[in-house]
């Protein structure tokens, strides 16, 4: 039993399961999945689809947080990426041309990568605190997005582009497939190469990493660049789903949701050990929360109150000072033991 509860993915998974079950009680048909027109439909599929952008952004954020950093600019990058892609597509004579869409998507992703690279340079080369360094792009980025769209919402009518965030492929939403592929590739990249270990080393102990000869700067720049690309893909999905680039609202507050997803997933904000699977679970918890509130008829804006409660609980439980002060009178410490050997092994091989 202890091996199960001690696993680092136990709590985020448990929270997710409880939330899903609660939905099932309220809405009996919640788990039903139907096939219509060769597409899968159902609340669970909706959660996956609507949660796709957040899963991607949180994925990038996880890697940055593993190095002991943070990226506040992801929401702005989401807006910029969608804006650029839609701007390029709307300028084409045939918006439905696959080649044109591919070029637009490629350029949007390149720009996202450049923005992430810029953040990385500020953190690793200029040596500015990550919160401050990425704040610059967070402030300016939304302006850049609106600059691209000239302040208007750009509507596109492009079936190939629509596929990215709203289409289906092999009966599944295309976005979900993209997320699955990106998560799998990232998992392979960090766990099959030495990348994950070296990132964890940097976040776990920067000075020791320097003395062991890890070239931290490059890896940190790489992490921020990757985070930028993830936010870029998420931006494509969001704008594709509604066939509109909205420089003002696309990805608004997404950085905060992403950080939240990472923390709920069990990766500490201080850096070091990270878990991609946990982050995916964390993002799904947030999306399920939003969906649940939506289906119960509470105004969606009120979701924020629940999020605040979740952030507070998760952070307080993670805080050693809180545990020491509140659980002081308990006979035994309530803290779960550090990841068991079995759990660590799963992480290494995951």
């Amino acid at each position: 039993m202890k091996a199960v509860t001690g696993h680092r993915l136990f709590w985020p998974a448990a929270v997710l399961v409880v939330m899903l079950l609660a939905n099932l009680v309220v809405t009996p048909g919640f788990f039903s999945i139907q096939v219509r027109n060769g597409h899968l439909y159902g609340s669970l599929i909706d959660i996956l689809l609507l949660g796709s952008p957040l899963m991607l952004v949180a994925l990038g954020m996880t890697v940055v947080i593993a190095t002991g950093g943070i990226d506040l600019s992801v929401g702005a990058v989401v807006a910029i990426s969608g804006a650029l892609a839609c701007y390029l597509i709307s300028g084409q004579e045939d918006q439905g041309a696959v080649s044109g869409v591919l070029v637009a998507v490629a350029l949007a992703l390149v720009l996202s990568a450049v923005l992430g690279f810029w953040n990385g340079l500020f953190v690793a080369r200029v040596g500015i605190q990550p919160i401050i360094a990425t704040l610059i792009l967070m402030v300016a980025g939304r302006g850049v997005a609106q600059l691209i769209t000239s302040g208007k919402n750009i509507n596109v009518n492009s079936p190939p582009y629509k596929l990215i965030g709203g289409g289906y492929w092999l009966t599944l939403p295309f976005a979900v497939i993209v997320v699955a592929v990106v998560v799998a590739l990232t998992g392979l990249a960090v766990r099959r190469t030495a990348l994950g270990m070296l990132l964890e080393a940097i976040g776990g102990n920067a000075e020791a990493s320097r003395l062991v000869g890890i070239r931290s700067r490059r890896l940190i720049v790489l992490a921020y660049t990757f985070c930028g690309v993830c936010a870029g893909i998420a931006g494509l999905m969001i704008s594709s789903n509604i066939s509109t680039a909205d420089g003002n609202n696309a990805g608004l507050w997404m950085e905060l949701d992403a950080i939240l997803a990472v923390v709920i997933g069990g990766t500490a904000l201080t850096g070091g050990r990270f878990t991609l699977a946990g982050t995916v679970l964390g993002a799904l918890v947030i999306q399920t929360l939003s969906t649940t509130i939506y289906t119960t008829g509470v105004p969606p804006q009120v979701t924020l109150v629940f999020k605040a409660v979740v952030v507070a609980i998760v952070c307080l439980i993670q805080s050693p000072a809180f545990r020491a002060k509140v659980f002081r009178r308990r006979a035994r410490p309530a803290a779960p033991p550090p990841a068991s050997p079995a759990a660590a092994d799963v992480e290494v091989n995951a």
Binding site: R192, T193, A194, L195, M197, L198, E200, A201, G203, G204, N205, E207, A208, S209, R210, L211, V212, G213, I214, R215, L219, G272, R273, P338, A339, P341, A344, D345, V348
Partner: protein
């Protein structure tokens, strides 16, 4: 002589597994500078912490002005008249000198701080102590010495009976130390009792009137400085009496035919940490660095690895001149370094034992060329067995290992890279006897295989047992190089440390 202003009688203090202070008596008189001497772990800092109320004594009593007191914390100590100034200046660098002297007790009228009054009084105080600094200057812009003096001025102005100076001179250069001593002497003449802790023997002899020597948590004795020779002091501190002052025979450099040196440093130094020195290490040679704590051993080896960057001199690795701007460059040339501070600079506690072991090799390979799972298991398994790392579980978080096993993990990490030069800073400190012997044996066998080893240890026997050549440091200066032939004894090295005989 007037009565002691501060007295400790039969004070004991234990921590789980350690007896830090055992039945220690200590007296401090007004108008004296009293040095507290002892090696690392002798109980100096515990004694200071009991005096300032950080720790409560298990037994014994503290008397202030003849009355028994129980100090509950640094704040309480200060109100009683015991102030402490640490090596790390505990002031705010962003505030002015004047404000640092008065913050928290600013003179005010109708709720408003009277700045003119603060500046005037600060200027007065600084003049009185001959501290030459404009009170309106930001503290962070001042030299460390001035910052320390400002801390002293603040402490003395709050309460002027007892002043404890814990390693105040560690980061100061010669002139700054003089400046500090001038102020200390002035305070002494005003009747303040000063407790001075320093690793620098010269400084202790220069400024102190009396000294108390501790060893292994016990009182060795209380001596007037003028009556205690340096040899005797070092003897008291280390527990080895140098009864016979035989002239040490410094042997000539061993005339072995030797290959190209693995490392050749000329005039390498770094201001404020170690004076320029020369050093040569050949393949298969173990070079030991001996000296008291704070003598510059760690500082010297860090320069050889590029952990700190030297500001003078040249280094050649394998005959080629190299600019050691960072650890990467040293590692690329086959240098490995196990730092003194295992937890903060060596081990990555989040990672598993196996990951920690392959980290250096993997870092050198780059992230794109991961070791295969099989290769990794083979290497980790081989070195965990060879070094007898216990428990033999490569997937355990490294934080759960004991000190000795953590040290072995760090050794394994570097041995995997097959270094040409292995730098070990205090590899046997704080680990059990068995592990210690294993590590010493390992060093010897590595040298037999042709690896050059630069070995730092506070234990002279250990240095003597395994080194071919010994470099002696004192007061951040390399003062002697001795070939380790049969006639060299720990006592001989201690004598060099004490008297500063330069070869």
């Amino acid at each position: 002589m007037p009565g002691a202003v501060l007295e400790m009688i039969g004070v004991s203090k234990g921590f789980p597994g350690v007896r830090a202070l055992a039945d220690v008596d200590f007296r401090l008189f007004p108008g004296e500078i009293h040095a507290l001497m002892g090696e690392n772990g002798a109980g100096k800092s515990t004694l200071i912490k009991v005096l300032t109320g950080v720790h409560a004594a298990d037994a014994g009593e503290v008397r202030l002005g003849g009355d028994r007191v129980s100090v509950t914390g640094p704040q309480h100590a200060q109100t009683l008249g015991i102030s402490t100034v640490y090596q790390e200046v505990n002031l705010c660098p962003n505030l002015t000198v004047a404000e640092n002297v008065f913050i928290g007790r600013e003179p005010s009228k109708a709720g408003a701080i009277r700045w003119r009054e603060i500046r005037r009084r600060a200027a007065e105080l600084l003049t009185r102590f001959h501290v030459d600094v404009d009170p309106g200057v930001r503290l962070g812009a001042c030299s460390l010495a001035i910052q320390q003096l400002v801390a002293i001025v603040r402490a003395v102005d709050i309460s002027a009976k007892v002043l404890i100076l814990d390693e105040p001179t560690s980061s100061l250069d010669r002139d700054e130390v003089e400046q500090l001593f001038t102020v200390m002497r002035r305070l002494r003449d005003d009747g303040v009792a000063i407790l001075f802790v320093s690793h620098f023997l010269d400084q202790v002899y220069e400024v102190s009137d009396r000294m108390t020597v501790l060893r292994n948590g016990r009182l060795v004795g209380e001596f007037p400085t003028a009556d205690l020779s340096r040899i005797d002091l070092v003897g008291h501190m280390t527990g080895r009496m140098l009864s016979t002052l035989e002239q040490l025979h410094v042997p000539e450099e061993t005339a072995r035919v030797q290959a190209e040196p693995v490392l050749k440093a000329q005039g390498v130094g770094r201001r404020g940490s170690i004076a320029p020195f020369d050093l040569e290490i050949h393949p298969g040679e173990v070079v030991g660095l001996a000296g008291l704590l704070g003598s510059g051993r760690t500082e010297a080896v860090r320069l050889m690895f590029g952990a700190d960057v030297a500001d003078s001199g040249t280094v050649a690795l394998g005959g080629k001149p190299v600019s050691l701007r960072g650890p990467n460059i040293a590692i690329d040339h086959g240098v490995a370094f196990c730092p003194e501070n295992r937890k903060s600079e060596g081990l990555i506690e989040d990672l598993t034992v196996g990951e920690n072991i392959v980290l250096a090799l993997q870092a050198a390979n780059g992230w794109l060329r991961p070791l295969s799972q099989a290769k990794r298991q083979e290497l980790v398994g081989r070195y965990m067995t060879a070094l007898r790392i216990n428990p033999a579980d490569p997937d355990m978080p490294a934080r759960n290992l004991s000190g000795g096993n953590q040290q072995k993990v760090l050794l394994a990490r570097w041995l995997i890279t097959q270094p040409k030069l292995l730098i070990l800073d205090e590899p046997t400190r704080g680990i059990d006897v068995g592990a210690k012997a294993e590590i010493q044996k390992l060093v010897v066998s590595l040298a037999e295989d042709g690896v050059a080893v630069l070995f730092v240890s506070a234990e002279l026997e250990e240095v003597l047992r395994i080194s071919h050549k010994i470099e002696v440091l004192r007061d951040r200066r390399l003062i002697a190089e001795i070939g380790n032939i049969g006639s060299v004894t720990p006592e001989g090295i201690l004598e060099i440390i004490a008297n500063g005989t330069t070869s």
